[in-house]
Every structure is written in structure tokens, then in C-alpha cells.
Symmetry: C2
Subunit: 227 residues, 2 copies
């Protein structure tokens, strides 16, 4: 698996550390039950709809997309996850969502049953699980708000602002995902995303250096749009 050799090239160790540190700052203490480290190259499925929910994951490095495939062939991306974030934890016995790597990734795999068992006697762990769920909830609600936004440009602006916090390096935003991924996250087509980006560039709000490197030239303009 050649991809194994270039793990975490999409995100530098410095970035991964920064992301994890930010996460730790929000938590009193890290989520630390024992789990297995796992490395997966870009573009692979981590878990799929219909599978057993006996495991969940925490990203160590890389970017993951969590999504659902609709019967009409479309794909809706529920969330992107970066270092420090937990994903794949669901209530039912069968998964409703799939997860895939967008870049080469490494993450920790937890056994759900084992963690839940441990939580019965570990108040701190119990609280962390609750907080994870509540944070995911807040994120899902803010995603709903994003999807309900009127214009395409507003959605894209809001998306860019979200990602400034997650993957900025020297004023340049690194988008780990394709235009298709962005479109599926925002409920737009690839063309609409592209047009919004081009429009932002035309009016001097951003500068594009390749499709995935975005320099934010006028953050205020984006904030006005995203509101």
C-alpha cells in the first residue's frame, strides 16, 4: 500500500498538533480510553452504512468525511473531521452513516462496548462521551443552518470561514477536500461552488493558488455574506 509511506502529508505534524491542542483546550482532559492505532490511505472507506456500530474512532491526523448515500445516487456529507475529533459513534446497532478518508489518515479505534463498560465506573469518561455527543449535536445544528442558507455564495462563504479555523497555515487555507466534497456538504453542485469561488476571487475577497489553496484577502466580506 504505497500510500502508507506518505501518511499525513496533507497535514503537517505541526498542523495536526495545533488542531489537537485546540481541542484539548476545550476539554478539561483528553479522551483517553485505550484503543488501537490504525493508518488508512486516502480515499478508503473506514466504515459503511449498515455495518455494526461496535467501533468508533478518533482522528489523529488527516481528514475524514462522514456521509450518507441517498437512494437517488446523491451523497450528502454530514461532517468533515480533523485531528482530535471523534466520529463513528452511533446509538443504534446499525450504522446510518459511512466514513471515508479524504487524505491519508491515522486514527485510534475504540471498541464501543468496552468504552461503555468502562464509562459505568468512570465518571470523567462518562462526561466526555456526553460532551462529545453534545458537541456533535451543536455541529449538526450549525450544519442545518448552513443548508438552510439562501444563496450559494453565502453557503460557500460560511464554509470557508469554518475552515479557516481548522486548516490555515500562514494565512493560506488548505482545503483537504475536492469541490465535489464541498458541494455535497453544502447541498450544491460542483459548478455552483466553483462559480462562487471564482466570484469571490473576481471581487478580491480571496485569491486562489490552485483549487485547494485559498488566501483570504477580505475576511470581513466573507463574514458579511455568511452572517
Amino acid at each position: 500500500m504505497k500510500a502508507q509511506a506518505r501518511i499525513a502529508t496533507a497535514f503537517s505534524p505541526a498542523e495536526a498538533l495545533a488542531a489537537r491542542t485546540a481541542w484539548l483546550a476545550k476539554e478539561d482532559e483528553a479522551f483517553r480510553p485505550t484503543g488501537t492505532v490504525m493508518e488508512v490511505p486516502e480515499g478508503r472507506e473506514i466504515c459503511a452504512e449498515g455495518q455494526d456500530t461496535d467501533r468508533f474512532y478518533k482522528v489523529v491526523s488527516g481528514v475524514v468525511r462522514v456521509c450518507k448515500f441517498l437512494n437517488d445516487g446523491r451523497r450528502q456529507i454530514e461532517a468533515f473531521h480533523v485531528a482530535g475529533e471523534i466520529f463513528g459513534l452511533e446509538l443504534g446497532a446499525e450504522r446510518l452513516l459511512s466514513a471515508e478518508t479524504i487524505t491519508d489518515c491515522s486514527f485510534i479505534v475504540y471498541r464501543r462496548h468496552s468504552v461503555e463498560q468502562q464509562a459505568k465506573s468512570d465518571q470523567a469518561l462518562s462526561r466526555q462521551l456526553f460532551q462529545h455527543a453534545m458537541r456533535s449535536l451543536a455541529q449538526a445544528q450549525s450544519h442545518s443552518l448552513l443548508l438552510a442558507r439562501r444563496g450559494a455564495a453565502e453557503k460557500v462563504a460560511a464554509f470557508l470561514l469554518d475552515w479557516i479555523a481548522k486548516a490555515t497555515e500562514g494565512g493560506v487555507l488548505h482545503l483537504a477536500m475536492s469541490r465535489q466534497d464541498i458541494a455535497d456538504y453544502l447541498g450544491l453542485t460542483i459548478e455552483s461552488v466553483s462559480r462562487s469561488m471564482s466570484q469571490f476571487e473576481r471581487v478580491g475577497t480571496i485569491a486562489l493558488a490552485g483549487a485547494r489553496h485559498v488566501r483570504i484577502k477580505n475576511r470581513y466580506a466573507l463574514e458579511m455574506l455568511a452572517a
Copy 2:
């Protein structure tokens, strides 16, 4: 306050019981910390964005909408809640969402701090809080999916199907909320909701007896649309 005299007329006791029973069936045991019962007439604010998150609620009877007011004047409804459901629990110190009564309601008010304190030594309670959060998460994700749906008719169909489970009586669906509420929940305009309903009636999928009484004549047709 005359409305106090007709509390719970919008939902019969039988309906409220059915709803609560359904909820209990999903839980091993009921959510049972102590709280204060409160009655609020229709159309009142229960809590608002920016307020302290020191309380949360469980619906005993009636219907509640949880929503966010956007800076452009629009309103996005995050969820409707019926008997047995918990709402108003948030992670941050300040509320991001408001809650309002759609019908006359009664609910139980819990003190967040007190419940969290109790959860430290009560494993079952701790688990219930987690499960509530996870269930809310699943509901928020399914709402995202709804908002990402292509057509107006598909959204309305999915909405009707959701509500068959929550408020059906003798094959007739009672909608507790206005067209505007439905529109704000689905990210549509009132006119689009109305047109979809009329269209369903025209092709014989439903029959309307007043705007809020819907007889489902062809559930399968709705399911095909909602997919």
C-alpha cells in the same frame, strides 16, 4: 390567562400517553430526576437565544418548536418536540436556540447544574443524558438530510411521514403547527408548502379537512417521494 384553562386541548390525553409510551419503549427506564411542572399557553417563548443555559425541559403535553432567528429576519426551526422529549439542553453557557410553545403546553423544568451533579453519582442518569444527546444528534442529522433534499414536494412528503408517527388519530394526521412553521422547518416558503400539499391532494395522495387535518390516502406515494 384564559389559555391556562384549556391546556392540552390540542393533544388528547390519549395521544400524549401514546407518545410517552413510545418514548418509554425506547428507553430502559424513564428520565426521572426531580423537576418543576410548568404550564405555558400557546405562542409563548419558553427560553431565548442568549439566555443562560441553567435549565432544560421535558415536554409532558403539547408541542414545542426550537428555533433560531437569523440576522436577515428569517427563522429556522430546528425541531418540533412532543410529549416525552427533552429540549433546551445545551453545552455552552449561553443559549444558541430559542424555544416556543406551538400549542398550550405543560412540561417539567430541570436545573441543569443539579442534574449534572446528580449524574456524577448516578450511572443510569448519566447514561440517559448521553442517550438523549445521541438521539438529538440523530434527529439533527436526519433534519440535515431533509434540508438537503432536492424538491419541495419531497421535503413536504418526508415531513408528513415524520408526523404520522407523532400525531395520528384514527388515520388523520393533526398538524399542530402553521404552514409558516412547516416552511421554516423545511427551508421553504409558505407558498411552496401550500402548493405541495395541494398537489398531493389533487393526485389523491392525501385529503385535507381544514389546513391542519390531513388524511393519508396513499402512504406509499409519500414514501416513494421522500425515499
